[in-house]
């Protein structure tokens, strides 16, 4: 009986359609991905049932970290050409008689991280290269009545970008009086509508509870 000779060719699969699909998917995900810079202070947001997604642009964020430090962040607006961030910093500098160079303003525009330093330290903060040195400077934005820089940041952010919406990102375990202080500052600046950043959690009220 003659032997059946198997082909010596290694079996290969045509991967072209798969690659086509992958390229398409990859392009889609790369284009839709939004990159948020890493925040220096970790914040564990509380849970809620709210399903409203966070807005993409025109937001200013007040972060309240676990150790009660306050951070402030504001975005460039719907279009990076608008350059809201450097404008706000320039206004801030003008109030405190600090002249920021164009290069410093550009650097502030590019780095989307939140402000956690008093404005007096901003120049040194921007000049630092090492992340560890930067973190050491971040004492939080002062909010005491003697030098309420958070109020000024909010004021200038709203002046430069009137459409800005307020987000509050607080750590779940932060003491409420600190949050209350922040809310008071915002209300003093006539901000009465806030969006609290939360994580989604599903809760349902059962039928028996309704008919009881």
């Amino acid at each position: 009986m003659p032997k059946i000779k198997l082909g010596t060719k290694s079996p290969r699969i045509d991967m072209t359609p798969m690659v086509d699909l992958f390229v398409l998917l990859l392009t889609f995900f790369i284009l839709t991905a939004t990159f948020r810079p890493q925040e220096t202070a970790p914040v564990d947001t509380p849970f809620s049932v709210s399903e409203k997604p966070m807005m993409d642009a025109n937001v200013m964020t007040v972060l309240i970290a676990k150790d009660n430090r306050i951070f402030f962040n504001v975005d460039n607006g719907p279009d990076t050409i608008l350059k809201f961030r450097p404008k706000i910093l320039a206004e801030m500098g003008k109030r405190y008689n600090i002249e920021f160079t164009d290069e410093e303003l550009r650097l502030f525009e590019r780095t989307g991280t939140s402000v956690g330093v008093p404005i007096q330290d901003m120049k040194t903060y921007l000049s630092l290269k090492e992340t560890d040195d930067k973190i050491a400077l971040e004492k939080g934005v002062p909010i005491d009545s003697a030098d309420n820089q958070l109020a000024l940041w909010i004021l200038f952010a709203r002046q430069v970008n009137p459409a800005v919406q307020t987000l509050i990102k607080g750590d779940a375990d932060v003491d409420f009086p600190i949050v209350k202080e922040v809310l008071d500052i915002l209300q003093d600046k006539n901000v009465n509508r806030f969006n609290l950043i939360t994580n989604l959690r599903a809760v349902e009220v059962t039928d028996t509870e309704i008919t009881e």
Partner: protein, 219 residues
């Protein structure tokens, strides 16, 4: 088949291009791409946080002479956020001698029951409305449905007016939780106000009472 084949020069013979298509080995490319896709998919799916909107009443400035709005005591329900995730509540107006704070928590049987008991009429109405819409009895668009629900809330005159207050040792998550409960139960009118000294005293009393009973039972 897929490798680019480098042809050896045959000895003096004619160059004979080998038949068959030249294919590239795509396996490493596919590996890398699936890795990247996984990365981008995961970051896209998990990076979007949710927000919860709250609106606080405008502050009455000191120089303005505006009376704060009066509300009926019979409809008010006061909720005080206490320490260690406890919630205290009392109906009506605080009287330092008479009022005793009820203690509860954020579980489904806790403050939610208290609120549901008082808000049942409105809650049923909203629930019935939503069911009718889902069943197709009422033909309404998504955005006008939301408006209709807020109109139901506005017309409601039986539900409680909830005053939320925070004791100084409460946490931020308690604040988020209680506003959450308001939206779960569908409370039409709730407001966040400052705690006053009478209520602070009541909370201190309630905490003392709780520690006294726990130490008493331990003995």
């Amino acid at each position: 088949m897929a490798d680019i084949q480098v042809q050896e020069k045959s000895r003096g013979g004619k160059k004979k291009p080998k038949k068959g298509d030249a294919r590239v080995d795509m396996t490493p490319m596919v590996d890398l791409m699936s890795l990247l896709i996984t990365f981008f998919m995961l970051t896209a799916a998990f990076s979007k946080p949710k927000v919860m909107e709250i609106v606080l009443p405008e502050k009455i400035k000191k120089d303005e002479k505006v009376e704060p709005p009066k509300i009926a005591d019979s409809r008010t329900l006061n909720i005080i956020l206490g320490p260690e995730d406890k919630v205290y509540w009392y109906p009506g107006k605080a009287d330092p001698d008479v009022t005793i704070l009820q203690e509860t928590d954020f579980s489904a049987e806790g403050i939610r029951q208290v609120l549901l008991d008082r808000n049942r009429a409105l809650f049923r109405k909203i629930d019935q409305f939503e069911k009718d819409v889902i069943a197709g009895k009422i033909d309404i668009r998504q955005d006008s449905m939301r408006a209709a629900i807020s109109q139901l809330k506005k017309d409601d005159d039986t539900g409680p007016i909830v005053l939320i207050k925070a004791y100084k040792t409460s946490k931020y998550k308690n604040f988020v939780d209680i506003i959450d409960e308001m939206s779960i139960v569908g409370i039409a009118r709730y407001i966040f106000t400052d705690i006053d000294w009478v209520e602070e005293k009541l909370v201190v009393d309630a905490i003392n009472r709780a520690t006294a009973t726990s130490s008493g039972s331990a003995q």
